[in-house]
């Protein structure tokens, strides 16, 4: 079990890394004691999007599938949660609504993924087909303003957005504020650890082998399509988790969180952070979300321009991602200082660079 945590596909290992990890986790856990509830709510809001970023990191960085459809599944699960929560009534049923909406997003991913992967779509076309689906969903939901668009008592409401669903609730206890924050932290730790174990497991090795060279992986006897579909479903399901949590956080969702420019955001986070590593994506996405939110208060357009600049700068200057690059520099510097110890981190850092996508 523990071997899988420190496997070859993820950076960061050994006592130093895990002590840092625990230190950050401890800070995150005691944070609500020192901050007011508004800040805690904001913090929880950043954490919502992390799942989507980790899912894209798995698909794109590890699986080599550049999906532009993260907000598609985000929207399906987000609207799904709303519709289900309204229809099933509040209370503990909201937990079932959360789970079901993520399952619906995963089923949608399975269907779309089947047609694309079994059709042999890859590379650029994978991106633009998923983006087309995303935009069509946004257009569709945008014109559902009329009263005839409803599922049970849940009105879709077009661009005004769907509202009126209950937040996540257990019994009569609403999971909001600090409670929601702790749920998010727990979910992120679980997802992060689970993904680390997945990519370092034998399944993960096949996923990476497929990214490196699908023909070679196929010749070695793996049905790469199944592994690709699995990756796509997990990655998209995580986007769905973000969507359902988003709706329950704000009790509100609009088509603008699906269409452009929202669809570009996960790409910016993951590209900027370094798509080849889960930890880099986790850290980088959080930093970007924090920065974005800070600037959005003054001007949303300016924040989005900055995101565009970051994306352009990343592909032009550091195609591997800024956070990952800086992280590697730090590791290099560290190991050079302790050369006598012969730490293997340098060699491993080099090994991860060998992708051609």
């Amino acid at each position: 079990m523990f071997k899988l945590l420190d496997g070859p596909q993820t950076l960061g290992r050994g006592k130093i890394f895990w002590s840092c990890f625990l230190a950050v986790l401890a800070c995150a856990l005691i944070y609500p004691i020192f901050a007011d509830s508004y800040d805690v709510g904001n913090f929880a809001y950043f954490l919502i999007w992390i799942f989507m970023a980790l899912g894209l990191c798995l698909m794109w960085g590890y699986g080599g599938m550049l999906s532009f459809g993260q907000t598609f599944f985000f929207g399906i699960a987000g609207y799904g949660y709303g519709v289900l929560a309204i229809n099933m009534g509040g209370g503990t049923a909201t937990i079932a609504a959360l789970v079901l909406s993520v399952v619906i997003a995963m089923i949608a991913a399975g269907v779309l993924g089947y047609f694309m992967i079994w059709g042999g779509i890859s590379g650029i076309f994978f991106g633009i087909v998923t983006l087309s689906a995303t935009l069509v969903l946004a257009f569709f939901l945008g014109q559902t303003a009329g009263p005839e668009w409803h599922i049970g008592p849940a009105r879709l409401n077009g661009f005004n957005g769907m509202k009126g669903m209950d937040p996540l609730t257990v019994g009569s206890f609403d999971i909001e504020g600090s409670a929601l924050y702790y749920v998010m932290i727990a979910l992120i730790v679980i997802v992060y650890i689970a993904l680390r174990m997945l990519v370092n497991s034998s399944v993960g090795n096949v996923i990476v082998a497929t990214r490196e060279n699908p023909q070679r992986a196929e010749m070695l006897g793996y049905d790469v399509r199944k592994y690709q579909l699995l990756t796509f479903v997990i990655g998209s399901g995580l986007a769905g988790l973000s969507g359902a949590l988003y709706t329950s956080w704000g009790q509100f969702i609009t088509p603008s969180s699906i269409g452009l420019p929202a669809a570009a955001m996960p790409i910016v986070w993951v590209a900027f952070s370094g798509r080849n590593d889960l930890t880099a994506t986790l850290v980088g996405s959080f930093l970007l979300l924090f920065g974005f939110q800070t600037i959005t208060v003054y001007s949303q357009q300016a924040a989005l321009v900055l995101m565009g600049v970051l994306l352009l700068a990343t592909v032009m200057l550091a195609p591997q991602g800024f956070v990952l690059g800086i992280g590697k520099l730090a590791v290099d510097w560290w190991t050079r200082r302790r050369r006598r110890d012969e730490t293997p981190a340098l060699a491993d850092a080099g090994r991860l660079q060998s992708d051609e996508t």
Binding site: G119, G120, L310, L311, L312
Partner: protein
Amino acid sequence: MSAELFSVFYQFADVFAFLILSAAGLAIVFGMMGVINMAHGEFIMCGAYVTVGLVNLGVPLPIAQILAALTAGIIGMIVEYLVVRRFYKRPLDSLLATWGLSLIVTQSMLLIVGSAVRGIGTPEGSFAIGGYTFSTYRLVLFGCAVAVLAGLYIIFMKTRFGVIARATMQNAAMAKALGARTGRIYSISFGIGTALAGLCGALYAPTMTLIPTMGATFVVESFVTVVIGGANVLLGTAPAAVFLAMIRMALNASYGQIIGQIGMLFAVILIIRVLPEGLSSVLVRRGR
């Protein structure tokens, strides 16, 4: 009877023109360089804004449209020189780079010019056949779409540039070894592609509201046309547009625009399962 037939043709022509005009620029860039220009919609927007700006200054509409297409073409060549050129060996990165550009341009436009710009009305003029009236401008658009196809055919099949361009498309290294300046070919092709995007925006500018995010209206249609067309864009784009226009027209007529778009997307997803290489692969196989 003939009035009904013409009405069907008119609806087909309307969708066909939209698909061809919005996809032609994207298809040329993709076919030549394997690059999907995610800022395609922004070049369309650029064409529309330049047209409206010039018309508001008093320039006649057709001249404004031609100037708008040229502007988009020149800006495209500058963008190619500054950005796209570096990514010919990394097509996925070119996708991200142009998407970054698209974000920058759309949001800057929102910051600078705001969301509302005074539009220009659709040119007047309609004619009646049987009991139906039709807008003349829609037929002009269809004529322009056919002219674009014919123009591209002549450029790529009948001129010296076309021969060299097709050679570059087939095997860039070999073309270069034979003395073709592939860099310049790419630059010109990208310019043609973005000029066509600008033309699309210029032609549709009188018919729609001008907002900086208007490019998004066109990208789905252009993407799916290119996907269905396949790798050989010279051969695939027109049949793909005919095919999609028929599906779209049938659905539009009975269920409305949005169902038409959803149906088109479903058709595309089904088709890529059967024909991942697109329609052009079938046509190429037939041709041999």
